[in-house]
Amino acid sequence: MELQEANVYVEMEPRLQAAVARHRSGHRTMATAATSPDEIGVIALVADLDAWRSRSDVREGVTLGETDRGTLVTARVPIGRIDAIRQATEVRSMKAAQQLSRMLQDTVREIGAGPGALPVGVHSTGGAGAIVGVIDSGADFAHRNFRHLVGTTRLLALWDQSGPTTATSPAGYGRRFSSDEIDAALRTGDPYTALGYAPAADTANEQGAHGTHVMDIATGNGGGSGVPGVAPDADILFVEPALSDIAWQGPGAVESVFGDSVQMLEALHFIFNEAGERPCVVNISLGTNGGPHDGSSLVEQGIDTLVRQRPNRAVVIAASNSFADGIHAAGVVSQGGSADLVWELAQVPGESELEVWYSGMDRFAAEIVAPGGRSLGAVELGSNAEVTSDDGRTLLFVSHRASDPNNGDNVLGVFLDAGVPGPEWTIRLHGTTVGGDGAFHAWIERNDGAQSSFRPPHDNSHTVGSIACGQMSVVVGSYDAHKAATPLSWFSSAGPTRDGREKPELSAPGQDVLAAHSRTGTGVTRKSGTSMAAPAVTGLVAVLLGEAAARGQDLDADRIRAIVLASARTDPPPAEAWDPRYGSGRVSVPGALKQLA
């Protein structure tokens, strides 16, 4: 890497200089909704509006108004003409348009995390003294937002679960990098190669690593991008989940899969072990659809156990983005009656899977109806059935388990291979014996390449992710902080849990968030999702834990949850009751800190 002097008009505004320099070096910008390739949006102060409008190299935008020095206007101009336009006599000044309304600072401002918004008497700011743990894909340790002013890393450790196994590997696999090892790599010209770990390079579908973006919202210090996250003074622990540390059989080998629930639990165990007695909050912006949705799964029991083991621990989980996906259905089957689940396959081939959970006091039979309406037969409770191809491949598999040991409920699982025909299959539930309420809930597992869904109209309740239904986690929905009304994000999943508990607990800005772009050193990229909302709350909890530590207070998980919920802002949502998507309200850093008094 070599620093080269750029011969660009030095009095020009820096972002315009950068655009001109990039243009001269051969870079071409992408077209956006407002600009053509190799154009840039500008705001200009012009002395002669007619002369400005007559220029052939100016695509006029809007007139913003008069000032005492001229008229303020917007326009799109060719990057190659910036020099000429900037020096024209009718132009007093010109700046590149900034998308300030989409910066991470909107998250920080809207939730009140900036220093000026904190209540009087706060002892600690920015999560100093606390640790933010992140379990996610792609930690760009070289990005300046995760380095101290002197250039050293803010990461206390990084566990790459896919890394080479050593004698000291956590849980017996992957590689743990210490802060010393990361610092040594940062002192080289190619820190990624030196460390043997790197966030994935950009692809056409993925601009910037998910984990770097998430980490920045929670705890970036703005050292590169200029915009800090919610808890910029916290220390960091990061775990990169293995795609699979051992062979995983099934429909998991797609690019959006970030490890599995076992590795995630091991990652959480690792982070809390590394943190020791220090306050620590862990962000999990991962999820899946299949599961009991009542907090009884072993991974959720594991999360609850780890959080309860020591004070000053918390886990924050993204609610999920499944609200509009049609992946949930519910109903009631009466004794001798039936209910149909019509399952529409994607138009492109892909594996599909659904689960139906119902009371252990009921006994259903599951009739499988193929496309065209022909019944293949019924699968009774306590039995498995399958359809195989001539070469022995499983095309359809049905597992009908009685009395799950963790909650006593029955569960029906149906798996369809990519080769089965569409457009729709029907799972007909027959009420053989209804000793309970006959109620059932069904979820279709996520498959980004070929997502199937239930036939509309959809019941989009109960779409919170299945690892997010535990007792102790804090689950976060998403809203749009760029609009004054802070509307819900269209994708943000809804509660409650299957056993009727109120999740998500609260919501945070998660739409169009610009945060750290991996492998750029200083850049940012835009992402949306409850993945981006959860780390805002993670940052809040880090600030809260840092302040509590500064005051000599211990906060157990119940107290942390109570503070966060009590401080949530309403209007929206209405103050009267918990909202299935906003939760108790919108996150508030000052509100949480005031609860400590």
């Binding site: 062979a247 970030f258 590795q263 498995n384 949306s528």
Partner: protein, 94 residues
């Protein structure tokens, strides 16, 4: 009922579903002799079944482990094992 030689003939699988072992239907259908990552809950603190290699102790009665799929029946029969959960793939919520 399916017609003779129907390519979609539903056949009942002789071995019924596990009672203690939960996981997705695709995992239940897998017949490979592979190694699995699981979460195990046991009745007796500190107990680890012979078939499992413990990886991380979450508590005295809850741990992560790996084991060969062919040994799952041992855990199913083990009276000290409460439940076994196979890992589910996780996705980013972006």
């Amino acid at each position: 009922l399916p017609e003779p030689n129907d390519p979609f003939e539903l056949r009942h699988v002789p071995s019924g579903p596990w009672r203690k072992i939960s996981g997705s239907a695709s995992q239940a259908s897998a017949g490979h002799d592979d190694t699995l990552a699981v979460i195990v809950k046991v009745r007796q603190p500190g107990y680890v079944p012979r078939a499992a290699r413990r990886r991380a102790a979450i508590s005295d009665t809850l741990f992560t482990a790996e084991l060969e799929r062919r040994l799952l029946p041992e855990l199913e029969r083990d009276p000290l094992v409460v439940s076994v959960e196979l890992g589910r793939p996780l996705h980013g919520a972006e």
